[in-house]
């Protein structure tokens, strides 16, 4: 696929006309959460996993941070997010603590699933975060149902549902998006099109050029955005959310990006042409946004180092606590299969 098939970049020196650019506070938030995501996942994949402190599979969203952050940063508390396995930013913005996340990865009792499940399989209804199951695209019909409940009860709430390009090949994608479209429920479907599904490149996944092209078949708008441009994602998501709130039904947003890692920590991505990594490295969403912010004076000289220091401190503290957190008791295995009062 032609990686240049994306709209002009909003940053740097972008041409996207933002309807109304976000306030400075939001800009700072975007940078913080993207950088926090990156460092958190770096620690998980390159430190804790390699030190054997995390067992099983580890998936990160390096290079894709702008998508969850851009789409979620302005969500209202009562809105609901259904993230995929590359959307760490969504958990952070929703307010899941770093300690809870590290404890989850290290299989501790204090983790989001109390050791029952691992890695990104985290959720918390108090944070309006609905966890995914590994079965790709299963969360799409569920998001339709979340939106349906808002519609039935006349609530001013929206659901954001994330998934990868590969997930759109599953029947549940079709069933979920179609039903959401027919019932005009307030859901925004956001595809992280990182151009690979494990080793499978996009052209082996679908015969259309863009995931967004599929929207037409469901009678809903489909929009392609530069997924490495946090402002472009933010802008598209804001419009789709407004549409959903206005009772006009779902939108499908395709965020073009690139998976800057293997599929998981054990995969060296030998099947990905090296030039693609180099090309997309230049489009790194964090570096681009840092440049944009410093050029505009939103961030003072030295401001970035300040943020890095803060993030490192927060992460160090959280790891220290989580590492001392207890593992679950073996007997916990038997708990919570059913309601226990």
């Amino acid at each position: 696929m032609n990686v240049n098939d994306v709209k002009p970049h909003a940053v740097p020196g972008g041409t996207i006309q933002l309807t109304a650019p976000p306030p400075e506070k939001t800009l700072h938030g975007m940078l913080y959460y993207m950088k926090l995501t990156r460092e958190l996942e770096f620690r998980i994949e390159r430190k804790l996993y390699r030190q054997g402190k995390i067992v099983g599979g580890v998936y990160v969203g390096r290079g894709q941070e702008a998508i969850a952050v851009g789409a979620c940063i302005d969500m209202r508390h009562e809105d609901v997010v259904c993230p995929s396995h590359r959307d760490m930013g969504a958990f952070l913005i929703r307010g899941m603590s770093l300690r809870t996340i590290f404890a989850q990865y290290m299989a501790r009792k204090t983790g989001a699933t109390r050791g029952k499940d691992g890695n990104m399989h985290m959720g918390d209804l108090n944070l309006n975060l609905v966890p995914f199951v590994s079965m790709l695209a299963d969360n799409i019909p569920v998001a339709a149902g979340i939106g349906l409940s808002f519609k039935i009860r006349g609530q001013d709430r929206v659901a954001l549902c994330f998934f990868g390009d590969g997930a759109t090949s599953r029947g549940d994608f079709h069933e979920g998006v179609n039903m959401a479209a027919v019932l005009k429920v307030p859901v925004v479907f956001i595809c992280n099109n990182n151009q690979y599904a494990y080793s499978t490149p996009l052209e082996r996944q679908m015969a259309v050029a863009n995931v967004a092209d599929r929207a037409e078949a469901y009678g809903i708008p489909g929009e392609i955005v530069d997924g490495n441009d946090v402002l472009a994602v933010w802008d598209a998501a804001a419009r789709a959310v407004e549409r959903a709130r206005g009772g006009h039904g779902p939108t499908l947003i395709e965020c073009k990006t690139f998976r800057m890692t293997g599929h998981s920590a054990h995969d060296d991505a030998g099947y990905v042409p090296r030039e693609l990594f180099e090309l997309w490295e230049e489009r790194d969403p964090i570096k681009r946004f840092e440049r944009y912010l410093t050029e505009r004076g939103v961030i003072a000289p030295g401001g970035i180092e300040e943020i890095d220091k803060r993030i490192n401190r927060e992460i160090d503290e959280a790891i220290q606590i989580a590492e001392k957190d207890p593992f679950p008791d073996p007997d916990d295995t038997l708990k919570d299969v059913y309601y226990e009062g």
Binding site: V55, G56, G57, A107, R108, K109, T113, G115, K116, D117, G118, N119, H121, V133, S134, M135, L136, A137, G166, A167, S169, R170, G171, D172, A197, Y198, S199, T200, R204, Q205, M206, Y271, F327, P328, D329, P330, D331, D332, T333, L334, V337
Partner: protein, 324 residues
């Protein structure tokens, strides 16, 4: 001679059948360039080309459905599920289209659905399941669960040659842990035949899959106490070797049914019924089950350790039964 791992044995079995029979082909996610998530199809793309090792979209239902269609047209497809957990996404095609075809209109569906299953690999609830019983409960299917490299190879060949749909559960924990010397000649392991892995006189442990090794470890330890276990590996669950089950019960008169799958609706329940219906008078003690508890497979190591049946469980139950 070189030792062949369980995973390599599956690969060899598929490879040899593909060399011999051009109707055989593989389809699944990441099976081509990548050689499969567990490398079962490594090197096959180069040898057989992209129309016999087919990388598909993430579409389990379409993978199995397409296998069925091709099988009806005379081909011998092998559909790979990346993990057995995701076979649920193809449930309908397997249990309705494939399983009922011959019965309804006489058309056999000779497909193989390969499903890497089982726990002990820190996979959590969605990468550790043992979903065999959904399929054992579906007349028209065959279900096999090899435990050795020899069986892995012999059963994949038998499955490919079988005129009916076979669900082939390969245990992930065994992939690289189990190896043995394999004969050079072309051999199959017939579907529906059990194997005695250890001859004994006191108690029979009837099991399958990775639990065969749990039983054998327990047997080695119990030997020192003078308790002599017989270990029967079912190898196939549907059809299963009723005769071998009854024979071992009649020989030892005491029986432990062991599986990694959860308890209610697990295969042990079926075995217990058959034993009590057909060999009740031979029993000198209660039929005992050792299974996982009725919960999802948990992720955290202490929980997963608790969940999986252990050597110590077999030893404890065997002692109780021995004293009975």
């Amino acid at each position: 001679m070189a030792l062949t791992t369980y995973v390599e044995a599956i690969r060899q079995g598929i490879w040899e059948e593909m060399e011999k029979d051009e109707r055989v082909f593989v389809l699944g996610e990441d099976v081509g360039i990548y050689g499969g998530a567990f490398k079962v199809t490594a090197g096959m793309l180069e040898r057989f080309g992209e129309w016999r090792i087919i990388d598909t979209p993430i579409s389990e239902s379409a993978i199995v459905g397409a296998a069925i269609g091709a099988a009806l047209m005379g081909m011998r497809p092998i559909a790979e599920m990346q993990f057995a957990d995701f076979i649920s996404c193809a449930f309908d095609q397997i249990t309705n289209f494939a399983a009922k075809s011959r019965y309804r209109w006489g058309a056999g569906v000779p497909i193989v659905v390969r499903a890497p299953s089982g726990g002990g690999v820190h996979g959590g609830p969605f990468h550790s399941q043992n979903p065999e019983m959904y399929y054992v409960h579906t007349p028209g299917l065959k279900v096999v669960c090899p435990s050795t490299a020899y069986d892995a190879k012999g059963l994949i060949k038998a499955a490919i040659r079988d005129p009916d749909p076979v669900i082939y559960f390969e245990h992930k924990f065994l992939y690289r842990r189990i190896k043995e010397e394999l004969p050079a000649d072309d051999f199959v392991v017939p579907i529906g035949k059990a194997a005695i892995r250890r001859h004994g006189t006191d108690i029979s442990v009837i099991t399958y899959g990775a639990m065969v090794y749990t039983a054998l470890d327990a047997a080695r330890q119990l030997e020192k106490e003078g308790i002599d276990l017989e270990v029967l590996d079912l190898r196939s669950l549907l059809p299963f070797d009723r005769e071998a089950v009854l024979d071992t019960v009649k020989k030892t008169n005491k029986v432990i049914l062991l599986h990694e799958d959860t308890r209610i609706g697990g295969f042990a329940g079926e075995l217990a019924s058959v034993i009590s219906e057909e060999a009740f008078e031979y029993l000198d003690g209660p039929i005992r089950r050792i299974t996982a508890p009725d919960t999802p497979v948990p992720y955290s190591p202490p929980l997963e350790e608790f969940f999986l049946p252990k050597v110590s469980d077999v030893i404890r139950v065997a002692r109780e039964l021995y004293a009975y």
